[in-house]
Symmetry: C2
Subunit: 202 residues, 2 copies
DNA sequence: TGGCTAGTGTTGACATTGTCAACATTGCTG
DNA sequence: CAGCAATGTTGACAATGTCAACACTAGCCA
């Protein structure tokens, strides 16, 4: 293709669609992402996207999957920064997780919600989410071995911790928490309460 | 109006709209609630609802508000059943809360989400939600006084607890938790971990 | 009793959306 | 360099939320 953008073929439309949709989602939520608006913003016709994605839901699944990659990178960075099994590291995972949600609310809702994604595409997305969850289970397992927390079914522990952190993120994203509340403090108190609770029967 | 349903005027359309919309929401989620489908199901024209609600968002807010009433009743019943400040009662609040969400997933998403409700209507809905939250803060306050949990900012404690329970409910509703997991056990473990964590520094 | 008004319901219309089929263009392969 | 497969466009359709114009009727006032 030519570089002046005037060519009939776009060249990298698939990637452009993904990044533009992602941008829109974080601008105004999933609801403003429209096949037609997407085309308009990329200087392409309304149905060009159908050459790259089966339908809107498939496109959104791809965006959500990219979101999972992004989140995983952030969490991996925590692991690399502070290796070992210190309790602080577990706390950091929680903080990074919530902060990711706050910075990418549209993405986060898409990743863990159902509303915007069709029934057939959901299993695929859940698979990706489960990959991340399995890593969390592993983390709890190794923390048990190091004696930092109570020995219990690590999957249950992971669900409890994930639930607490996911709930906090959701409440914040959905505007349920009063704006004058100290968010960082709230995040820290959540992780502390959890860890204290899990150390109890140690 | 006549009672055979053949009259021009419906008679109790407002109430009928609310209950029919609520039913649809719990059948297939907010997305299947359509002004036109609603009219069809009630044997009324597509725009009849506009005589009772400013727009679709206003109707959904009314449905969500009814959901809050319903949830409050359930929680109040717990308070009446087991008066006093035993730790079991706090645990029960959590269990009833999660169970409500599981039984009325569409309602729950509507009550605590943003997607389906317009920006202007949100504050009104948040006001209703805050009423419930304030009661939770009171509960934590009285539990502190009875010495059951650590003395800390009760608002923060309430946010932490609400977050954990809301997160668990959301994960379950959105199909994030594997189906072979013992849900009751998971709920109990969540509330136990929280309470243990809050007793730690007592 | 009769008629008027405000409340309630209907129909027609419009812009917007997702999506498909038919068509156009073009980069690449033989 | 011919043609094919990939990629993009346009026209069309059904569905949706919503408004304006119109229809019906219950209940109040004379």
């Amino acid at each position: 293709m030519t570089l002046d953008g005037s060519s009939y073929h776009h060249g990298g439309l698939r990637a452009a669609l993904l990044s533009e949709a992602a941008a829109m989602i974080d601008e105004g939520g999933t609801s403003i992402v429209t096949m037609r608006a997407l085309g308009r913003r990329l200087g392409v016709s309304r149905s060009a996207a159908y050459r790259h994605f089966a339908d809107k839901s498939a496109l959104l699944v791809a965006v959500a999957t990219a979101g999972f990659d992004h989140l995983r990178n952030r969490l991996d960075a925590v692991g690399a920064d502070a290796p070992g099994a210190g309790i602080d590291r577990l706390r950091q995972f929680g903080e990074v997780y919530v902060r990711f949600a706050l910075e990418n609310p549209g993405h986060y809702r898409l990743m863990y919600g159902k509303e915007a994604i069709s029934r057939e595409d959901l299993p695929e997305l859940r698979q990706v989410a489960n990959g991340l969850f399995d890593e969390l289970v592993n983390v709890f397992q190794s923390y048990q071995q190091s004696g930092a927390i109570e020995r219990q079914d690590p999957q249950l522990q992971a669900y409890v911790a994930w639930g607490a952190v996911h709930g906090l993120a959701s409440l914040l994203i959905e505007g349920q928490i009063l704006t004058d509340v100290d968010v960082d403090g709230l995040i820290r108190r959540t992780t502390s309460t959890l860890l204290d609770g899990m150390r109890a029967g140690r």
